[in-house]
Symmetry: C2
Subunit: 428 residues, 2 copies
């Protein structure tokens, strides 16, 4: 018997995990490599950052999700090179041979060439980011409770969120609810409802990827939660004590101690590695420009899917960096691998856009279902339903439902714990 066909998948996000799952029971050997031991349900990560959910509610161990798949092994590891000539993935601590390689390592936030801003303006990509962001938000209120200087107090009670895409809008909305409802009775020296929440967006509207009518609906819902939406405002500097924004032709300084970053996307470094080591073509965001079947030019055995890929054959521009395209591509590529094993072919990848959802708060969301646009309660109910449906593990579905029910009734975010590195003394 010949060795089975070896499929290596790098990345256990929506794309990579779907590919692995679609290869279940196929007569081949699958190895899924990820730097983390968990699959993350990223659309709910902001709820960890804002204390509604626990890390374990939005993440499941990859091993457990794939435990029943006898042909699949999960490895904790980080790919550093692709030796395309010899069909080997080089890890930071080993190597893996492949016959087919699926690269699905995604993207992270970027600071437009100002990496020094990151220390003051953390972004949100993994569980550690989320617990760190949660700690920052809660510590700002703790510091405010002890601050006596009015000017410094105002800076502690000012939150700036950079980027009014779905993540930024969700963070801003959740902060609004925290300030007005969750923390209402928690402090003695400050009034949390005096918190200033400023959502800064470079384009002319919130949720710029949505139809203008939904952007306007989102803006109104944000304002109702006490969020100030500053559109047409570019961030030009971020420091420990404030943010500088350029609006039109003048600069404005917003004194703040807490900046949350929800802007800018940078493809995973594996894009550049694939370009150098396998001749892949990159776009300006360092995403890999793929062929109609999601493979890279010259290497039919290497596929790139999800946020790391630029698939523009269908609409002339890259697909949005959300879960849906990644899931559909993971599914497609796995089916293509299975077809090839049988000596068959498949038509090119085709993306079916089911629509987009973003939530701002309780009963406040927008839904663009292409044939129908909704905002407010109906959109929010769809959002709740879809997110519960798509959470990978059944237990998490129960736990999230229970905690959302609780949050809905009591406004209580019980996961507002400050953990991680030492935070004392407070820098007052």
């Amino acid at each position: 018997m010949p060795d089975p066909h070896k499929v290596v998948i790098i990345g256990g996000g929506f794309g990579g995990l779907t590919a692995a799952q679609t290869l279940k029971n196929a007569p081949l050997q699958v190895t899924l490599v990820d730097r983390h031991n968990y699959h993350l349900f990223q659309p709910l990560l902001y709820q960890v950052a804002t204390g509604s959910l626990s890390p374990a509610n939005v993440a499941g161990p990859l091993r457990q999700v794939l435990r029943k798949q006898k042909n699949t092994q999960v490895l904790l590891g980080e790919a550093t090179h692709i030796d395309a000539a010899n069909r080997r993935v080089i890890l930071s601590d080993g190597a893996l041979d492949y016959d087919t390689l699926i690269v699905a390592t995604g993207a992270k936030h970027q600071y437009f060439g100002h990496d020094e801003w990151e220390q003051f303006a953390p972004g949100l990509k993994n569980l550690d980011d989320a617990t760190a962001m949660r700690g920052r938000i809660l510590l700002a209120f703790e510091a405010a409770e002890r601050e006596r200087d009015a000017k410094k107090l105002r800076a502690w009670m000012t939150f700036v969120i950079v980027g009014a895409g779905p993540t930024g809008a969700e963070l801003a909305g959740a902060l609004g609810e925290i300030a007005h409802d969750t923390l209402r009775h928690d402090f003695r020296a400050i009034d949390p409802s005096q918190t200033r929440i400023i959502l800064v967006e470079g384009t002319d509207r919130a949720l710029p990827s949505y139809p203008p009518v939904l952007s306007e609906a989102a803006r109104r819902m944000l304002v109702r939660l006490g969020v100030t939406v500053r559109t047409g405002a570019m961030v030009t500097d971020v420091r420990a004590d404030g943010v500088t924004i350029r609006v039109g032709d003048h600069d404005e300084i917003i004194p703040t101690r807490t900046v949350l970053w929800a802007a800018g996307v940078l493809a995973s470094p594996l894009g550049v590695i694939l370009s150098q080591e396998a001749g892949a073509k990159l776009d300006r965001a360092c995403r890999v420009i793929v062929e109609p079947d999601m493979s890279i030019a010259g290497h039919a055995e290497i596929f790139v899917i999800g946020d790391l890929s630029n698939f523009s054959h269908q609409t002339g521009q890259p697909l949005p960096g959300v879960a849906q395209p990644a899931i559909q591509q993971g599914h497609y590529v796995a089916k293509l691998v299975r077809a090839r094993l049988r000596g068959q072919k498949l038509p090119p990848f085709h993306y079916f856009d089911k629509g987009n959802l973003a939530t701002i708060g309780r009963g406040a969301a927008v839904a663009d279902l292409n044939w129908l646009r909704l905002s407010g309660w109906p959109a929010w109910l769809i959002w709740v339903f879809v997110h519960l449906l798509y959470i990978v593990q059944f237990q998490n579905r129960l736990l999230v439902m229970l905690q959302w029910g609780w949050l809905y009734l009591t406004f209580d975010r019980s996961a507002r714990l400050i953990t991680g590195k030492k935070h004392l003394p407070l820098d007052l």
Copy 2:
């Protein structure tokens, strides 16, 4: 109107929190200071370390627990000095005046003068300890899955737990269940049921503070879970690649990559500070020897309660370092403060021992109710009931119940996430 009587409580554990809650509605001003923003239900912390529960399930924000108490303010801060003459607590970033001071800062694990062991053998006192320990345990299995060298593999698959008190026994039992049940289908290269779990204890039996018949029952339950109990074994060295134990008059080296520390108790540094700055007397474990009313000699206005205190007036020896004495002392001291305000006195503190419970695994526990000794299922059911009853927040009671039910049915520990500092490359 004169200024209200100021009570400062340092520490929001069982003792400090109970004291604060018992002062509800009293005509005085309470300030509770803690280094963390949460109250921790420490008896279940090992379940966070072993992936059954999430941090937010065993901890609740102190602000939220005390939100309805108008006379009480919670501050995040760390006490560094007690200026007893001027009745001021000095924080690392401020100061607080008091009329009555309640010190309840507890104890942590200690390494018997070998602090260099800590890096290889983490202990378990707060949420960060628990997630770090969880990461270590899970990473050992991840490394084992990728290890080819038989000797190194054996070291990765060997876990040593130092100290067979309740925490050590609970950790060892949970590891046994993880190895035999939870991870059964998760790996391809290793068989987790081959894991060696060695519980090392210096005295001649497990659970030495329990009656011998229960120690023997615990030992049998541990053995059934695949745990090797080594009694009469002193740890004489801990390194990255192993532990040396002395049994009788010969040394034995156990090659292991994972050592968990559940031995040795060291009182909080505030004991020494109280001795230097307020003349408090200390015992050999640096606990504060208190008067019959839990105050310190010469300072009727300073109380020390919980694990930091040595109250031996009742039995001739210190009370055990568990939740019950701390809770009862917190309650007593608060009642005494209220009585003094009214010009009244109280009889000395009297500890009522309700009994002790320790759990080893599913259906496996020991209960010493003084008038009744139980082991196995009856003890375990009491353990479950009591722990659900005492968890502070109602939401956590629901969530813990749901997750225990799930764990019971499926052996699935969904919170087995590796978070925290970078762990790659694996040190193979």
